[in-house]
C-alpha cells in the first residue's frame, strides 16, 4: 500500500504555484541534489506542529551516520494525506528516503518511509519532484 497525496494534491500544487517566496515555510535548508537511503529503527515519532519528526537510529546508511533526525511537513498536511499518529511507533524497523540538510548535519527532510509490513508512507512535501533522488 502506498498512502500518499489524496485530497491535498490540489492544495500541494497550489502551494507550489505560490512560489517559495510566499509559502509560509521554506524547505531551502535541505539539499535538493541528492537523497540518502537510511535503514534503521525508529527512536521516536513526534506528532507536533509546525512539523512532525522522526528520530532514527541508523543501522545502514552513508558512512558515519548512526543517528538521523527526519523532518516532515505539518501534521495537518500529513492528516489530509491520510497519515495517523499511530502509523509509526518507537522500535519500528524502517527504510527512509531523505533529502539531507545542506549543511551536512545529521538531519533531513523525509520524502518516503517504507515500513517492514509493506506500507510506504509519503509525506505531502510541496514540490517534492524538485528533490533529485540518488540511485
Amino acid at each position: 500500500m502506498k498512502r500518499a497525496i489524496g485530497w491535498m494534491a490540489a492544495g500541494t500544487l497550489a502551494v507550489g504555484a505560490v512560489g517559495t517566496a510566499w509559502a509560509h515555510h521554506s524547505f531551502a535548508i535541505f539539499d535538493h541534489t541528492q537523497t540518502y537511503t537510511l535503514k534503521g529503527k525508529v527512536k521516536s515519532f513526534q506528532w507536533t506542529n509546525p512539523h512532525g519528526y522522526i528520530d532514527l537510529d541508523v543501522k545502514d546508511g552513508p558512512p558515519g551516520i548512526d543517528h538521523f533526525t527526519l523532518e516532515m511537513t505539518s501534521i495537518n498536511m500529513l492528516q489530509r494525506a491520510g497519515w495517523k499518529s499511530s502509523d509509526v511507533h518507537p522500535g519500528d524497523e524502517v527504510t527512509a528516503i531523505v533529502a539531507p540538510l545542506a549543511t551536512g548535519d545529521k538531519g533531513g527532510l523525509l520524502l518516503e518511509l517504507r515500513m517492514k509490513d509493506g506500507r510506504t508512507l509519503v509525506p505531502p512535501v510541496p514540490a517534492i519532484d524538485t528533490f533529485k533522488r540518488s540511485p
Binding site: 490540489a10 492544495g11 497550489a14 502551494v15 504555484a17 505560490v18 517559495t20 517566496a21 510566499w22 509559502a23 509560509h24 515555510h25 521554506s26 531551502a28 535548508i29 535541505f30 539539499d31 527512536k43 521516536s44 513526534q46 507536533t48 506542529n49 509546525p50 512539523h51 519528526y53 528520530d55 543517528h67 533526525t69 523532518e71 505539518s74 495537518n76 492528516q79 489530509r80 540538510l101 545542506a102 549543511t103 548535519d105 545529521k106 538531519g107
Partner: protein, 244 residues
C-alpha cells in the same frame, strides 16, 4: 436612478441608521463552510488576475526588491532567512487569507468569522457596525474588521494592524486600511479582492485578488505551533535542532 442608488437613498431617508454607501442584502449568499485557495486555468473567468508587485514609493520599492534578491540568494545557499514562523508566530492579517491551508467561514446576520487552519488564526468581521478611528483601535495581528453586504458582495474594512505584521513583507504605517470585497463568482468559487491603502508608503492603492473553492464536508483540523525544531541561529539563519 439605479436600483442600488434608490435603495441607498431609501435607506438614508427612511431609517437614518444605515451606514453610508451600504445596501443591506435581504438574503446574502451563505459563505459558511470550508474553503481552500484556488487557481483556475489561465484566462478562465474564475481565475483571479495576477498579483501585481506592491506600488511602493521609490526608495521603499528598491529596498523591498533588494530583500527579495537577498532571500533568493540565501535560499540558494541552503541558509534561508528565519521568519516569524520559525518562532511559531502566526502570519496575521491579511496574509492569513493567502492560505495555503484551508479556512472556514461561519456566518450570521451580525458577524462573520474566518478561521484559518494554519496557526488556528481567527478574524471577526462585525456586520453593520461603524469603523472606529485609527487612534481608537489598538494594533494587533488581525486588526478590527467591520462589514456590510452590498447586494451579494461582502464589503469589509479593516484597520489596526501591527507594524511588524506585514503582507508580502511590505512595510506599512499605522494608517494602513484594507478594504475587501468578497463575492461568489460561481456557487462554489469565492473571490476576495483586497485593496491596501496607505499613503505613507504606497504610491496608490494596491489590489490583490485571491480565489477559493469550497471543500465540502471538510472539518478544520486544530493547529498549535507546539515545538518547532527549526530555529534561528545568531545570524538569523534557519537551522534544524537535532537529537543525538
Amino acid at each position: 436612478m439605479g436600483s442600488q442608488t434608490f435603495a441607498r437613498a431609501a435607506c438614508v431617508a427612511l431609517l437614518g441608521v444605515c451606514a453610508l454607501g451600504s445596501v443591506h442584502a435581504q438574503n446574502p449568499p451563505d459563505l459558511t463552510g470550508a474553503w481552500e485557495r484556488y487557481r483556475g486555468p489561465p484566462g478562465d473567468a474564475t481565475s483571479p488576475p495576477p498579483e501585481p508587485i506592491p506600488p511602493l514609493k521609490a526608495p521603499l520599492l528598491k529596498d523591498w526588491q533588494a530583500r527579495r534578491v537577498a532571500e533568493r540568494e540565501a535560499d540558494a545557499r541552503g541558509e534561508p532567512i528565519a521568519k516569524g514562523y520559525t518562532h511559531c508566530i502566526p502570519e496575521g492579517y491579511p496574509t492569513m487569507m493567502n492560505g495555503p491551508f484551508p479556512f472556514d467561514i461561519v456566518q450570521s446576520r451580525s458577524q462573520i468569522n474566518i478561521a484559518q487552519e494554519a496557526y488556528s488564526q481567527v478574524r471577526r468581521i462585525y456586520l453593520g457596525k461603524p469603523q472606529k478611528k485609527f487612534e481608537d483601535v489598538e494594533p494587533g495581528f488581525y486588526g478590527r474588521s467591520v462589514g456590510n453586504w452590498e447586494n451579494n458582495t461582502l464589503v469589509v474594512d479593516t484597520i489596526g494592524i501591527k507594524d511588524y505584521v506585514t503582507f508580502r513583507d511590505v512595510p506599512h504605517t499605522p494608517q494602513l486600511r484594507v478594504r475587501e470585497r468578497l463575492h461568489l463568482v460561481t456557487p462554489d468559487i469565492l473571490w476576495d479582492e483586497l485593496t491596501l491603502e496607505d499613503a505613507g508608503v504606497l504610491e496608490k492603492p494596491w489590489t490583490v485578488t485571491f480565489a477559493y473553492r469550497r471543500v465540502p464536508n471538510y472539518e478544520i483540523i486544530e493547529y498549535v505551533c507546539e515545538d518547532n525544531r527549526e530555529y534561528a541561529d545568531d545570524k538569523g539563519v534557519t537551522r534544524l535542532r537535532l537529537k543525538e
